[in-house]
Structure formats: structure tokens, C-alpha cells
């Protein structure tokens, strides 16, 4: 197993001084190169879980095991670009080792060729999201964390970006965690779907998808969705 997460409990104190349990008994594991997708209600603590898994939040009970020295690429919910650096500088800053060929390939795939020298303030949200994706892939991560990377984009653009993420994920071995509200994202991208409860959050169902991403045509997607519906999970 490449990634093993056993969070027994995560409690935090809100601004009013009340203690709230965000996660309780949150366990899952992913093999190297698998894409795990987390689907759950808003505010159920998905981002909290991601922060713990990437090591931003050491204040929890339990254990997270990931290979030491693994390179992490992350797409946050908001793009988190440096507004004072151009698109290209933003990417190069985290990936100083990336050569020109890799970068042109990435910028090409994500349709960012024309925006390399723009500042983030000059970009639409959709473009900024794509820059954040480019940045995460440019580091050639062993771990890729995507926190609702397609939220609040229109359907056509979300579908295109979803395809681009699938291409990039399949181009190399990268263990991926994707958090989303969208069952579409889940069935298009996931190897293993995790459905989450209300808070305190934990995994209530784990559904593996065996069809390779490349072979999921509309009919296959429909079949997977039907199966999820049979499991009464698709409407969570």
C-alpha cells in the first residue's frame, strides 16, 4: 500500500469556542498509481482530511503513512497563485527542475500557451484553475491532491478539464486524491470511490471501478452510475 490513512479523530475549536469533531474513524488506503475519489456533502470535512494527509495539519489523532520523500502536487479549492508572478513564473517556482519541453507540453495540454506571461489577476477563474493544475503536474508529483478542482466551472469546461486531468494522471504513476461534489467527476476519474458521511465524517462506502479510464465511454459511464444508484449512493 502506498498511502494508508487512519484518522481516529480530528477536533477543532471554532471562533465561538465550541469544540467540533470534523473527522471520526476516517480510514482508507490507496495503492501506488490509484486515483481515489471522495464524494460527500458540503462541509463534511473533506478539505480537513486533505490538509491532514498532505501534512499541513499535525493536530489530529491517528496515523497517516505515506512513503518518505514523496513529491506532492496540490490543487487547492481556490487557485492560490502568486498574483505578483506571471503564469510561467508561478509554475517554474515550484518546479525548477522542469525543462522547456515538459512545460510546453503541459501549457499546450491545458490551453495556456497564450497566457504564459500574464499575471493571475488578468485570468478568468477557469484559466487560473488550469494554471493551478499545470503547477501541480509540473512538479511531477508522486502524490496528487485535487480539492474540488472543477467546482464552479461551466459544464463544458469542466468536462474538458476532466479529460485533461485523466490524460495527465494516466501519463505517469501518480497516486491521486480527488475531492468532489460531482458524481460525474467521480465516475470519469476514479479507480476507487469513497462516499463520506455528514460530520463527524468517515467513509461509509468504498466502490472500486475496474474499467480503465480510457475505456469509459458514455455507455460504460451510464452503467457505472446505474450501479451506484443501485447502491443508493449516487445522490449523496
Amino acid at each position: 500500500m502506498q498511502l494508508e490513512v487512519n484518522i481516529t479523530s480530528k477536533v477543532y475549536t471554532n471562533a465561538a469556542g465550541e469544540r467540533q469533531e470534523a473527522l471520526a474513524g476516517f480510514n482508507f488506503a490507496l495503492a501506488a498509481g490509484e486515483v481515489g475519489v471522495f464524494v460527500g456533502p458540503s462541509g463534511c470535512g473533506k478539505s480537513t482530511m486533505l490538509r491532514i494527509v498532505v501534512g499541513l495539519d499535525p493536530d489530529y489523532q491517528g496515523r497517516v503513512t505515506r512513503p518518505p520523500g514523496a513529491k506532492i502536487g496540490m490543487v487547492f479549492q481556490e487557485p492560490r497563485l502568486l498574483p505578483w508572478r506571471s503564469v510561467e513564473e508561478n509554475v517554474r517556482l515550484v518546479a525548477p527542475q522542469a525543462d522547456e519541453a515538459t512545460l510546453s507540453m503541459l501549457f499546450g495540454t491545458l490551453g495556456l500557451d497564450a497566457h504564459r506571461s500574464h499575471f493571475p489577476g488578468e485570468l478568468s477563474l477557469g484559466l487560473a484553475r488550469r494554471v493551478a493544475l499545470a503547477r501541480a503536474f509540473a512538479v511531477e508529483p508522486d502524490f496528487l491532491i485535487l480539492d474540488e478542482p472543477l467546482a464552479s466551472l461551466d459544464d463544458a469546461l469542466a468536462a474538458r478539464l476532466r479529460g485533461e486531468i485523466a490524460t495527465l494522471v494516466d501519463s505517469r504513476t501518480v497516486t491521486t486524491l480527488l475531492v468532489t461534489h460531482s458524481v460525474d467527476d467521480a465516475v470519469h476519474l476514479g479507480d476507487r470511490l469513497f462516499f463520506l458521511s455528514q460530520r463527524p465524517s468517515h467513509v461509509i462506502a468504498e466502490v472500486p471501478i475496474h474499467t480503465p479510464r480510457g475505456k469509459r465511454d458514455p455507455a460504460e459511464i451510464k452503467r457505472i452510475k446505474a450501479e451506484l444508484a443501485r447502491l443508493a449512493l449516487a445522490n449523496l
Binding site: 499541513l56 505578483w84 515550484v94
Partner: protein, 245 residues
């Protein structure tokens, strides 16, 4: 063009006022200009301006670097803030004259005492400004730098410093004007050269053309440095903002 017009208006007002007040109290522009030329010819003007400028530069750099470092530390580390805060408040409210006089008493009438006294006067404003700036740093960008394992010095240069740039600029701006004001007092009280010393001499001799000659060239120097140095740097630092602040 507008600047020239405003300068012309200044000259006209001055000339008019000198006609009303009389040459004794307020000499007209040509007399002051003659004094400037005479001082420039003897080389004294450039010498004294240069000496003052050197003191300003040294005290400014000293106060900015120490003050910024302390401000950053106090913004980041709570203990440092608690320890430093009472001293900061004391220094902020200590009159410049007290600092200068004490510096001359304790360190003698030396160059070190003068520069230290000027720097200490400017220091607390730099600390306060940078502390505020550090408190507004975007934690989400820190997390980004953390997750992507950007090396510390690189994160400081590309993530932290650009956020502090407006605060550094504000500290430099207000600090520079403070230093300009205080340097002359320090020179008047304890240095044998510099614009402040010359103004002291002119005051004792009641030589008003000489006094105005030094005051106005000094003002011109300040204006030149502001427009030629400070403003372009500010503009460059904020070029990524689409609307000028």
C-alpha cells in the same frame, strides 16, 4: 508642465512677499540665488550637502534593515511581540531631541552617535509598519509553499517579500521624511559640518540669504531623490496590480 507652473507660482509668491516684508527679513530670489552660487563656487555647498546625504543614507539603511527584521520577527513570533512591544511604544513616543541629546552625551559628539540617534528615531515606525504587514501575510500562500516544498529562502523571496513590499515602501517613505527632518537637528546640535550645521551658523550670523540658500537646495535635493528614486521603485514593485494604488 503643471509642476513648472506650480514652481513659478511659488517663486512669484516669494518675490511678492519679499517686496512686502523687505529685503532684511525675506531676501528676494536673486539674492538667495547669488548666495547659492557663491557657496557652490567655493565647494562648501556640495561638501555640506554630501555629508548630510551620507548621514541620511547610512541612518536610513541601518534603521530600515534592523527595523524591518525586528518588525517581521514581531509579526511572526508572539513571544518576540510581547517582549518588544513596551520598548516599541517607548521609542515611538520618545521625542527626537531626547534621543539625539542622550546619544551625544553617552557616545560623545561623534559621527556614530549622530547616525545612531537618527536611526533610532526612525526605527520604531519601520518596526510597526512591518509588523502590521507581517500580520496580514496570506496563510494560504504559506500553505501552498509548504505543500510544494519550496525551499525557505526561495519562499521568502517569492511568496513573503512581494506581500511585504507595500509595507516596506510605506516604511521607507515615511521613514525617509522623518530622517530628512531629524538629520538637520542632529547636525545642528553636534556636528561640525552638514546642512544642519551651516543653517545653525547662518542663524547665529542672522545671514538669511545663506540660511535660505541651504534650506532650499536641501529641499531640492529631497524632491529630486523622491521623484528620481523612491517613486520609480514604488511603481516597479506594484506593476502586477492592474490599477495603480
Amino acid at each position: 508642465m503643471v509642476r513648472l507652473l506650480s514652481f513659478a507660482a511659488f517663486l512669484a509668491t516669494w518675490w511678492g512677499a519679499s517686496l512686502l516684508a523687505g529685503d532684511q527679513k525675506l531676501p528676494p530670489p536673486p539674492i538667495v540665488l547669488a548666495a547659492v552660487v557663491a557657496e557652490a563656487k567655493s565647494g562648501a555647498l556640495f561638501f555640506h550637502l554630501g555629508v548630510t546625504l551620507a548621514r541620511v543614507a547610512l541612518a536610513f539603511i541601518l534603521a530600515m534593515s534592523v527595523g524591518s527584521a525586528l518588525g517581521y520577527l514581531m509579526g511572526r513570533v508572539r513571544l518576540a511581540d510581547r517582549l518588544g512591544d513596551p520598548w516599541l511604544i517607548l521609542l515611538l513616543h520618545l521625542p527626537a531631541l531626547v534621543v539625539i541629546v542622550l546619544a551625544y552625551i553617552w557616545a560623545g559628539l561623534t559621527e556614530v552617535a549622530a547616525i545612531a540617534a537618527i536611526a533610532i528615531n526612525k526605527l520604531p515606525t519601520a518596526v510597526v509598519t512591518l509588523r502590521e504587514g507581517t500580520r496580514t501575510l496570506d496563510a494560504t500562500l504559506d500553505e501552498m509553499a509548504d505543500v510544494f516544498a519550496i525551499p525557505r529562502w526561495k519562499a521568502f523571496r517569492h511568496v513573503i517579500l512581494p506581500q511585504l513590499a507595500p509595507y516596506l515602501a510605506a516604511a521607507a517613505r515615511s521613514g525617509l521624511s522623518l530622517v530628512w527632518k531629524i538629520v538637520l537637528v542632529a547636525e545642528l546640535l553636534g556636528r561640525p559640518n552638514g546642512v544642519g550645521f551651516e543653517i545653525g551658523v547662518a542663524f547665529q550670523l542672522f545671514d538669511i540669504p545663506l540660511l535660505l540658500a541651504y534650506s532650499l537646495t536641501f529641499a531640492a535635493l529631497v524632491l529630486t531623490i523622491e521623484t528620481a528614486l523612491v517613486q520609480p521603485i514604488e511603481a516597479r514593485l506594484s506593476r502586477w496590480r492592474r490599477r495603480a494604488a
